[in-house]
Amino acid sequence: MRNLLIFISKYNAFFLFIIFEVSALVIYVKYNSFQKATFINSTNKITSNLYAQADQLKSYISLREVNDSLARENAMLRNQLKSSFYIDSVSKHKITDTVYKQQYQFIEAAVINNSINHRNNYLTINKGSHAGIEKGMGVICGQGVVGKVVLVSEYMSVVQSVLHKETRISAMLADHKDIGSFIWGGDLDARKGLLVDVANNAQPRLGEKVVTTEYSLFPSGIPIGKVSNLHTKEGGSSLNMEVELAVDFGKLQYVNVVINKLAKEQLALEGQEKKDE
């Protein structure tokens, strides 16, 4: 004990230093928020690391629940999407030109149901009588002819696709104006159709465009497809040829419904003529 006291008194400077330095550091750390924060941070590094590792194990076990909740959340968010709501307003694109009286008007619509692999294919669009769509109107899209409206409800319409048994569209070869009829072939190929009843003297060439004529529901010049095969088995008094469709029906998203403003007048006039006969 005595030796210890001698030792302490001999090196009293060091022990005094320890005492004063520790008290000064205590004051420093206690009253200085920055050093305090760093202190706590560095100690927390160890604990937080341990926590993170434990959490990794735990989270792997509960992956199933997390997955379910995420799926639920996805469904909930999807319900809030704009596309899940019906769009009530209608926008009609009008071209006003004083030289021409407008004959065709287009209403845009989204395809909400579509089929391509049946014998008779239909698609449903999200516009109906509310938007001014009537039975018998033509439907086109950016690439070409889609079909015609067969059923109309207030907010929905059913369109008879070109890929249908009863499709018969007045069509012509774009270069030589040789008129024929477009039908959908029997082999259920969503990318091929037939152009039939073309006059024998026509000289179609491979890759020539096939477009609508003025005798159809559609404005003239709307593409249907292009000639892909000149030698089809059904022949006779007229030329038949295979047509590759312009529209990819499998990827149809948006269509335009064609309103022919002169259709009624035309029908009325033609009906009068028949009555007269």
């Binding site: 005094l16 230093f17 004063f20 330095e21 000064a24 205590v26 206690k30 200085n32 050093q35 760093t38």
Partner: protein, 172 residues
């Protein structure tokens, strides 16, 4: 004896005032900040007991901290400075020389000894002070630069003050 106490009290007060009201506002290029107040600890008599030395260093540090709003920072550095002073004096000064040389001033101890004494103690103090303030190893380069430049400034001021109160007659 009583004269030494009065002189040191006056020195304490004047150094704290100079430090707080003048040197606190002086910074050269954001790098060099002088801390002249350590001169008080440097100039304490050789006979000062260790416990008194540490206590005075502690009080001085706390006083400066109170003005600088950094509780404990200068106190810690000053306590370290006191220890370095004890070690330095025990190495370089003979114990029996205390009669003739009561205070480690420039005029008594000579330029070479005083310069080394001031430089080493200032470097220790400043190194500890700046690093404790920054508390980050990533800025060590910038901190070291500040330590060196501030130490030069402080040592310069210490030497100037030593020359100002130079008493040639005391040197025998």
């Amino acid at each position: 004896m009583s004269r030494t106490i009065i002189v040191n009290i006056l020195r304490f007060i004047s150094l704290v005032f100079i430090q707080v009201f003048l040197l606190k506002n002086i910074t050269l290029y954001n790098l060099s900040t002088p801390y002249l107040y350590i001169l008080f600890i440097l100039l304490l008599p050789f006979e000062t007991p260790n416990i008194l030395l540490f206590t005075l260093a502690f009080i001085l540090g706390l006083t400066i901290d109170a003005f600088y709003d950094t509780p404990g920072l200068h106190t810690t550095a000053c306590v370290l400075l006191a220890l370095v002073r004890i070690l330095f004096i025990s190495i370089t000064v003979q114990k029996d020389g205390f009669d003739n040389e009561p205070e480690p001033t420039l005029s008594i101890m000579g330029f070479r000894w005083f310069f080394t004494y001031a430089l080493i103690l200032t470097l220790f103090h400043h190194f500890f002070l700046f690093n404790l303030e920054v508390f980050r190893f990533s800025e060590i380069q910038y901190t070291i630069t500040r330590v060196v430049l501030s130490s030069l400034f402080t040592v310069f001021l210490i030497l100037v003050s030593g020359l100002l109160f130079y008493k040639s007659k005391e040197r025998k």
